[in-house]
């Protein structure tokens, strides 16, 4: 690879990096307090329906071993 091609590639790469960073710097952001409040309200809204958080009654557990009854 000629040194000219190599330096053109480096310039292209550097320019891509600058473009990418400008794009990332320009995005709209919200405050952490607002973002946190939203995460919390999502948790609260869905907590009731979270089986790993609330637990499931044995009768409704699809994984439960189905044992047969024996009459002694």
């Amino acid at each position: 690879m000629s040194s000219k091609t190599a330096s053109t590639n480096n310039i292209a790469q550097a320019r891509r990096t600058v473009q990418q960073l400008r794009m990332e710097a320009s995005i709209e952001r919200i405050k952490v307090s607002k973002a946190s409040a939203d995460l919390m309200s999502y948790c609260e809204e869905h907590a009731r329906n979270d089986p790993l958080l609330m637990g499931i009654p044995t009768s409704e557990n699809p994984f439960k071993d189905k044992k047969t009854c024996t009459i002694l």
């Binding site: 550097a14 400008r22 995005i27 946190s36 409040a37 999502y42 979270d50």
Partner: protein, 402 residues
């Protein structure tokens, strides 16, 4: 919930005027919209006036500084402080409820079927097994021509699985219940990378697959034709994991790699829209928070972290001085309140996502936990390990015992 990061538009390119997916491009202080081809041409142009390699590099450095400043301005509080008013969870008592035995070597990956019952797992010895988790029966098994099948995924329809690893490919196998049919015969090679396949996932349908590779790229493929639809370049080293955003939130996915970066990508344009570099070592696992507004990561630096996409920063670290081994795999419970994380010290730690504290520690595996997923309806979680087994756990109602 609306996302406020930059969404790429489809329209007329400001340079060639063709109808394409556009990305913003900055010329001096002006913002234009270019298609990816014109953006590349512009990047590869000769030097502009007053521009040298050194000036571009120093501009990059100052932009990085500006990015950190902008992020810091909005850092008015910590998540765990806001979460102080939320009720604490109390300690959970945990144990394994069911063990799936059958693999002859390290389990490397697993994925649930949308039917919330079946799951697929892959192993170092080349075997891929489909299980019925209710009965522990093996429904299908196929032997791959390579060892270290590091990635596997269940198709949304439940009718196929995808897998790959050291063969550098991702292959799709239709699942058939015909006993006379050889599963391996219907194998379809879809993705081709130049290094190992580390992760794969179907998109919303059986028609497209997203892959991550040791070659440092991610790629989107058409299953039927094997055609490459989009490639994602930007990681500086092996990509180890990926996760698709929940479908309501649009066409993005997050990836994590050996370059310690987590990157969020726009699937249509191939562009990275946000990047986070706060981990101190390889990122082994990434998973979206159920609302799609945040994602968690697990790393060899022994921490898990939560990144909020709208605040554009890390908002929580889940760590303890006593935890010194890497986290290999993370997943959220249905409400997002719990984060399950599997570690290389054979344990699974369960974290309170909001408060940042650990609520439980699960023992049971006899070697590293390599993979962990919560079932689609949040009823159970499954972990796979180098001890050749997969283990299932769930929670009882009365005593909140896991």
């Amino acid at each position: 919930m609306d996302q406020t990061f930059l969404v790429n538009v489809f329209g007329s390119c400001d340079r060639c005027f063709k109808q394409r997916a556009l990305r913003p491009v900055f010329k001096k202080s002006e913002q234009l919209n270019y298609c990816s081809l014109c953006a590349e041409i512009m990047a590869a142009d000769g030097l502009h006036e007053n521009e040298t390699l050194a000036s571009l590099k120093s501009e990059a450095e100052s932009l990085k500084g500006k990015l950190e400043e902008e992020r810091a301005k909005l850092h008015d509080v910590e998540l765990h402080q806001v979460a102080e008013r939320v009720e604490a969870l109390g300690q959970f008592v945990m144990k394994t409820r069911r063990t799936l035995k059958g693999h002859g070597n390290k389990v490397l990956c697993m994925d649930w079927c949308k039917d919330k019952r079946r799951l697929v797992s892959s192993s170092q010895d080349g075997k891929v097994i489909v299980w019925d988790s209710f009965t522990t029966n093996k429904e299908h098994a196929v032997t791959m021509p390579c060892t270290w099948v590091m990635a596997c995924a269940y198709a949304p329809s439940g009718c196929a699985i995808a897998c790959g690893g050291l063969d550098n490919k991702c292959s799709v196998y239709p699942l058939t219940f015909d006993k006379n049919e050889n599963m391996a015969a219907k194998k379809k090679s879809v993705a081709m990378h130049t290094n190992y396949l580390s992760a794969c996932s179907f998109t919303n349908s059986d028609m497209q697959i997203l892959t991550a590779s040791g070659d440092g790229t991610c790629a989107l493929w058409d299953v039927e034709s094997g055609q490459l639809l989009q490639s994602f370049h930007g990681h500086g080293a092996d990509v180890l994991c990926l996760d698709l955003a929940p479908s309501e939130t649009g066409n993005t996915f997050v990836s994590g790699g050996c370059d310690k970066k987590a990157m969020v990508w726009d699937m249509r344009s191939g562009q990275c829209v946000q990047a986070f570099e706060t981990h101190e070592s390889d990122i082994n696992s990434v998973r979206y928070y159920p609302s799609g507004d945040a994602f968690a990561s697990g790393s060899d630096d022994a921490t898990c972290r939560l990144y909020d996409l709208r605040a554009d920063r890390e908002v929580a670290i889940y760590s303890k001085e006593s935890i010194i081994f890497g986290a290999s795999s993370v997943d959220f419970s249905l409400s997002g309140r719990l984060l399950f994380a599997g570690y290389n010290d054979y344990t699974i730690n369960v974290w309170d996502v909001l408060k940042g504290s650990r609520v439980s520690i699960l023992f049971g595996h006899e070697n590293r936990v390599s993979t962990l997923r919560v079932s689609p309806d949040g009823t159970a979680f499954c972990s796979g390990s180098w001890d050749h087994t997969l283990r299932l756990g769930w929670a009882w109602a009365a005593k909140r015992e896991l």
